[in-house]
Every structure is written in structure tokens, then in C-alpha cells.
């Protein structure tokens, strides 16, 4: 008699993953709705309000795009690093470094926007790259685990930002706390409060996907990630590729910081990274190593974050929101794992009981 069993496969088809993720989200939403109903909230009304305040109104869409902009870039930063098998946990620090460098340019240079803004962009990218340089070289030449080095530099970057914004660069015009003065140049707005950084970030993500899948460099990166020994044997300069990918990753996160300074916050501020660097890791995990998937992953993350804000105004506390976010991501992780299993019909082999 045939019995049903499940077999774990090393890869899972994208369709199955998508389907199981939708199931996972549906299950977690049911759990959340149940808990909310038990605590005296109306899940239906909350759901409707959330949909209206995010996808269902122009104001909500603007907020979503503004949320997505840094998430796209930090998500891409972690994803490209992951392609060669490395974890950049330091997007938060590189974000700050990019923001600091861009602010330095804006504070020090006074000129037309068309000159200052591109210089800020370059400075932001270089700032992010500079922040990942030491972990990069340590990884490439000494084999030092990049997870630890990039992570620890986050705290230094954050404290450096606090130092600058409460010390030498502090706002002496309006006395705003932990801030530089408002920068004289800003990213032009495209649609409501959405600045041009958003389409640029989308283009960068799409461009990266093309580079990784269509160019020789991208192939070598993927090779290096899949099997470093084989890549080396095939003559790929893995060390150089590690250096270039990590610098690119830092540059992307730095650019996210520059966009946030120039487009959204308009000042350098302590705490301004808003965990976008760490959330970039979540986005990259959701994207499962594909740059194109970073776009829907960033959208999902932005939706979750934005829904959290809507729910807070409905008197749900920030801790509840955090728990809800965790539950959704936890369920998605289970869904991803389940997608690797395939039902197989097994018949007992002849000669055995």
C-alpha cells in the first residue's frame, strides 16, 4: 500500500514559495485579527482603515514610497553581498556614513542644486564604501568574519552621528535637538512628498538585477557565492570580486543615507537611520537572493511598517506592533521552509515488510 511522505528538496520553485507565503500571511492575519478581536478592537474596521491609509489613498501611497526608498537600497545592499555568500549586517552604519558624508558636502559647499546634489550623491556613496572598507579588506585578506565587523561598525557610525549632531554640526539656528541645521539643498519632489530618490532606487535595483544576471562580472559573483573553490579553480579572482561586491554593497547603503538626508529628513539627525539598515536584512531574506524580488519585498516591509503606524494611532502600543511584525515574518519563514517539501508517494520496496 502506498504511503504519503514528504521529501525536502534543496531548492523550491518560486510559485510554491509565493503561494505558501500568501498562506502564511493569511494565517498570521487571522491570528492577529483573533487577538485584536479578543482585546476589544474591531479587526474589520482596522483592516479597512489600514488599507485606506496605505494602498487606498494617495497620501498612503506617498508614505509607502517614502518608506520603500531606503528599504530598496539597503535591501539591495544586503542582497548583492549575499550573492557572493557574504552577510553585510552593517547597512545601518553605512547608511549613517553616507548620510554624514552627504551632509558634510551640503554644509560645506554653497552652490546651485545641480552642482551640490550630485556631489552629495557621490559623497554619500563614497561614505558608505569607506565605512565598509575595513571589514572588506579584513574579509578578503585575513578571512575575518564580516558579520561581526560590519555589525560593530554600526554602533560607531550611530555614535559618530550623535557626536556630530550634538557637537560640531549641531543646529545653532533653530536649536532642534540632535540635528544639523536644515540643509539648503534637497532632492526635488516628484509626487507629493515622494522625492526622485524613489524612481532612482527602483532603477538601481533593476539595473543590479541585470548586471548580476547578464554580465560576466555578475556570473563570477554568483559563481563565487555558489562554490568559492570551484570559482577559484575556474580562474575567477574571488578575492577581488569580494572586494568589489562589498564596496558596492556599502555604496548602496550609503546612497540610501544620502537620499534620506536630502529627500526626507533634510538634516543629519541622530537616530535617523530608523533601523533601515537592519530592515534591509529582512528585505534581503524575503527577496531570497534575487535583486528583482527586493522590490516586492521592500513593498511588503513598507506595508507592514506603515500599517504599524496606522495601528498606533488606534491605540495599539508600539510593542504590540513589533510583535505583529515579528509574527508575520515568522510565518513567512515557516512558509518558505515548507515550500522546500514535496509530497512523494512511497511504496515499500519488495522483500521488506
Amino acid at each position: 500500500m502506498a504511503t504519503r511522505a514528504f521529501q525536502r528538496l534543496p531548492t523550491a520553485p518560486a510559485g510554491r514559495i509565493l503561494a505558501l507565503r500568501l498562506v502564511a500571511i493569511a494565517v498570521s492575519l487571522c491570528i492577529i485579527a483573533g487577538v485584536l478581536a479578543l482585546s476589544g478592537h474591531s479587526p474589520a474596521m482596522l483592516a479597512e482603515l489600514i488599507l485606506r491609509s496605505t494602498l487606498g489613498s494617495r497620501f498612503g501611497l506617498e508614505d509607502l514610497m517614502l518608506f520603500m526608498c531606503p528599504l530598496l537600497l539597503t535591501g539591495a545592499a544586503v542582497t548583492v553581498c549575499g550573492t557572493i555568500g557574504l552577510w553585510n549586517i552593517g547597512a545601518e552604519g553605512q547608511f549613517y556614513a553616507g548620510a554624514i558624508a552627504a551632509t558634510g558636502v551640503a554644509l560645506g559647499l554653497h552652490g546651485p542644486v545641480l552642482v551640490v546634489l550630485p556631489l552629495m550623491t557621490i559623497a554619500g556613496i563614497l561614505g558608505g564604501m569607506a565605512w565598509i572598507t575595513v571589514p572588506t579588506l579584513a574579509r578578503a585578506y585575513a578571512g575575518v568574519n564580516e558579520i561581526i565587523t560590519t555589525l560593530l561598525l554600526n554602533f560607531i557610525a550611530s555614535l559618530l552621528t550623535y557626536y556630530l549632531t550634538t557637537g560640531p554640526w549641531r543646529d545653532r539656528i533653530s536649536g532642534a535637538q540632535v540635528s544639523t541645521q536644515r540643509l539648503s539643498v534637497s532632492m526635488p519632489e516628484m509626487w507629493g512628498i515622494v522625492h526622485w530618490g524613489f524612481p532612482v532606487a527602483i532603477m538601481i535595483v533593476v539595473g543590479l538585477a541585470l548586471v548580476l544576471s547578464r554580465t560576466r562580472w555578475g556570473y563570477e559573483i554568483r559563481m563565487g557565492g555558489a562554490n568559492p573553490e570551484a570559482a577559484r579553480y575556474a580562474g575567477i579572482p574571488v578575492r577581488l570580486r569580494i572586494i568589489s561586491v562589498m564596496l558596492l554593497s556599502g555604496g548602496l547603503a550609503g546612497l540610501a543615507g544620502m537620499f534620506e538626508v536630502a529627500g526626507t529628513v533634510h538634516r543629519l539627525q541622530g537616530g535617523m537611520a530608523n533601523n533601515f539598515g537592519y530592515l534591509g536584512i529582512v528585505v534581503a531574506v524575503l527577496a531570497r537572493g534575487s535583486c528583482l524580488n527586493v522590490i516586492p519585498a521592500a513593498l511588503l516591509m513598507a506595508l507592514i511598517l506603515d500599517s504599524g503606524i496606522v495601528m498606533q494611532t488606534q491605540q495599539l502600543s508600539a510593542s504590540v506592533i513589533l510583535a505583529i511584525t515579528g509574527l508575520i515574518l515568522f510565518m513567512i519563514a515557516i512558509g518558505d521552509e515548507l515550500a522546500h517539501y514535496r509530497p512523494v508517494a512511497t511504496t515499500p520496496a519488495k522483500g521488506k515488510a
Binding site: M45, E48, S57, Q177, Q269, G271
Partner: protein, 375 residues
């Protein structure tokens, strides 16, 4: 988190909620010129049952300090206007998330948004795009067509407490805890030290800024460092009472901020700069409902929203009497912040014969001579 009041009946019917969201969309979607011509909603009288007032707090309302005091104000508004809806959000981050929250308040139909801490551009950017909504920012600086600020003139109470500090310290060193080097912290440290120096010019004040308003662990560490450095009187601006416990353990004296904290450590407790926003919030909401609200800057003055707490049991009666004498004179209009006042780089900031106005103190960005740890 349980709070009595309008939670749960915030959006009572489905239709009502759709109305709110729809109204939100339109106010943000209207072209700028059309919005400029229309008269702002807050210039017209408003029925209590139609009004929504939203509060954004910087910390948790259970912080035992700043946000708790503001939440008392929210509760007072709820008691006074039972049909009015109030929304509040705790722990609003000082980041672009604050902008998102304030925008969401607008989207949900709030006619008045109160930020109970400084949010600078994060609130101004929202108010500029929502001229139909009245905005107020505690410790703000901007006054626009629909945004005003309010704050407590706490420096008078700090000065009074400084007098007692001078009469109680044995090491002549006052320890001060602040979050960031910003005007309110300068004003508090300066006033405390000027009050102390009015008794004993040899007294100095050592300050530590811990980069957070609410971080009991960092405050404890900083207070311990100040005690190690010989400070035997602690004071400061923190949203919670952690450093009082340090004072208690180390046998020091401490003056607090926000609210009376005698119960946390009676042996160490001297007094507190007590804040009360209840009447102010009620008056603002009353003005909103009457259609008479105006965007302006407003100080809550000594005896009207800010005062020293009753003196702790270990304060010598003669010290209390001397400080209260100054308090009586202040209540009659006396300004003790008169020159000559030098800053801690030796520069003459206030010449003899001139006095600092409340607005000047509110914008302080320098520390008086004798302050260390604040540039």
C-alpha cells in the same frame, strides 16, 4: 496598555470611519491654491462630538515623568470634554516616522494635533501641508499659519531649587543630567547654577548629556559617574526618575523634574520642577471648539503650570525659607536673571543692568561660567 476613555469607541461606525479616511484624502489632495483660499477648519466653531484631538508623546505614558504628565493633561481633556475624541501615540520616534504618525493623525480626521515634545521639521512639514489642522508643539520654535508652540518657563523653579542646592551641598559641586545640548537643557543647568551661585559663587555644576530623554540605564551610569566625581547634589532633565535611586544609594541629594517623586526616595528627595499641562490643554481644546484658536508661542509660567514641589523631609527649614522667599518675589514679577552673566568661556553674555527675557532663556545655547560638560 489600558487607558480609560475613548479607546474602542474611537471609530464607532463603519460609515464614520470611511468618512474620516475620505476627508483625509481630500484635504491632502486639494491643490495648494485652493487650500490657501479656503478658511481653515479651526477658525470655525466645532461641535464637541465632531472634534478629534491627537497627541504624540515622546516616551511611554508610564515613564513616571514627562509623558505621564502630558497624559494627565489628555485625561483632563477627556474629563472636561467627554464627547470629544482623543487619540494618542506613545514613544513617537524622533525620525521621519514622526512625520508619518502626524500625517496619519491628519488622515484620521484630527482637527488638532499636539506634539508633546519637540519634533521640529517632522511636525512643521506636516502642518505646512495640512492647513486645515491646528498644530501645537511643546518646546517648539516655529509659529506659522497653523502651528504654534508652548513650553514651561521652568528656569524659575530651577533657580529656586538651585538656592536650596547651594545651602545643602558640602562639596560645592552640583551634578546635572541632560539628554542633549539643546536650549531647554542649557536653560535648566544655567538657572540651577545661577540660583546656587546667588548663595555661594564658588559652586560649580558638572553636566552629562546621555543622548536620550528616556534611558534609565544610561541615566544611572551617568549619575554614578557624577557621584564619583564628587557631586553631592544631582538634578537634571530626564523623563524618568532613575538618578534619584542613585542619589538614594550613594547618600546624596537629588532634585527632580516633571512631577513629585518623594515616594521614590524620601531621604534623597529635595524637590522637583513640577509640570501641569492640564489647564493649558483644556484651554487649547476649548479655543478650538469655539473657533478662536490662534497659532502662537506660549509660556506656562511659575505658579501656572510649573512650580517647585513641596520640599523633601531632609531640606533644612532655613534653606527652604530662603528659596521660598525668592519664589514669592518671582511670583510678584522679579526676574533674577540679571547681568553681569559670563559664559563658561569667560565671555560676558549679559551686561550689568540688563536682564534675560523668557524668550532669550528659551533660546539659550551657551552655558554660564561654572558649568562643565556643556559647551
Amino acid at each position: 496598555m489600558t487607558v480609560s476613555g475613548s479607546r474602542g469607541r474611537l471609530l464607532t461606525t463603519r460609515r464614520e470611519m470611511l468618512g474620516l479616511a475620505g476627508g483625509a484624502g481630500s484635504s491632502l489632495l486639494l491643490p495648494r491654491h485652493a487650500r490657501a483660499q479656503a478658511q481653515p477648519a479651526w477658525r470655525r466653531p466645532l461641535a464637541e462630538s465632531d472634534a478629534i484631538v491627537a497627541f504624540g508623546h515622546t516616551g511611554p505614558i508610564t515613564d513616571g515623568g514627562w509623558s505621564m504628565v502630558h497624559d494627565r493633561g489628555v485625561q483632563a481633556v477627556r474629563r472636561t470634554f467627554p464627547k470629544l475624541r482623543t487619540i494618542y501615540v506613545e514613544s513617537v520616534p524622533y525620525s521621519a516616522d514622526a512625520t508619518r504618525l502626524f500625517r496619519q493623525f491628519v488622515a484620521e480626521g484630527a482637527q488638532m494635533v499636539m506634539a508633546t515634545s519637540e519634533y521640529g521639521d517632522f511636525i512643521k512639514d506636516v502642518s505646512d501641508r495640512a492647513p486645515d489642522v491646528a498644530f501645537m508643539e511643546c518646546d517648539g520654535t516655529n509659529v506659522t499659519g497653523n502651528l504654534g508652540w508652548y513650553y514651561v518657563a521652568h528656569w524659575y523653579a530651577s533657580y529656586i531649587i538651585g538656592i536650596v542646592a547651594a545651602l545643602m551641598t558640602k562639596t560645592n559641586k552640583i551634578g546635572f543630567l541632560g539628554a542633549f545640548p539643546i536650549p531647554s537643557v542649557y536653560a535648566s543647568a544655567n538657572a540651577t547654577l545661577l540660583g546656587a551661585q546667588s548663595v555661594n559663587p564658588a559652586i560649580t555644576l558638572q553636566s552629562i548629556t546621555i543622548n536620550a530623554w528616556f534611558d534609565p540605564q544610561a541615566a544611572t551610569q551617568a549619575a554614578t559617574a557624577l557621584a564619583d566625581n564628587g557631586c553631592d547634589f544631582l538634578c537634571g532633565i530626564m523623563d524618568e526618575p532613575a538618578y534619584l535611586r542613585v542619589a538614594l544609594q550613594r547618600g546624596l541629594k537629588a532634585a527632580m523634574w516633571n512631577t513629585g517623586m518623594l515616594d521614590y526616595g524620601p531621604q534623597a528627595y529635595v524637590s522637583s520642577v513640577c509640570l501641569d499641562f492640564n489647564d493649558y490643554y483644556i484651554s487649547q481644546v476649548r479655543n478650538l471648539l469655539a473657533g478662536t484658536w490662534q497659532p502662537e508661542g506660549h509660556f506656562l509660567t511659575l505658579g501656572h503650570g510649573v512650580d517647585r514641589d513641596a520640599w523633601g523631609p531632609t531640606v533644612p527649614p532655613e534653606a527652604a525659607a530662603r528659596a521660598d522667599d525668592m519664589r514669592t518675589r518671582m511670583l510678584a514679577g522679579h526676574n533674577p536673571f540679571v547681568g553681569p552673566i559670563y559664559d563658561n568661556h569667560g565671555r560676558l553674555r549679559v551686561p550689568a543692568g540688563t536682564a534675560l527675557s523668557d524668550l532669550e532663556i528659551y533660546h539659550s545655547d551657551w552655558a554660564v561660567a561654572g558649568v562643565s560638560g556643556l559647551e
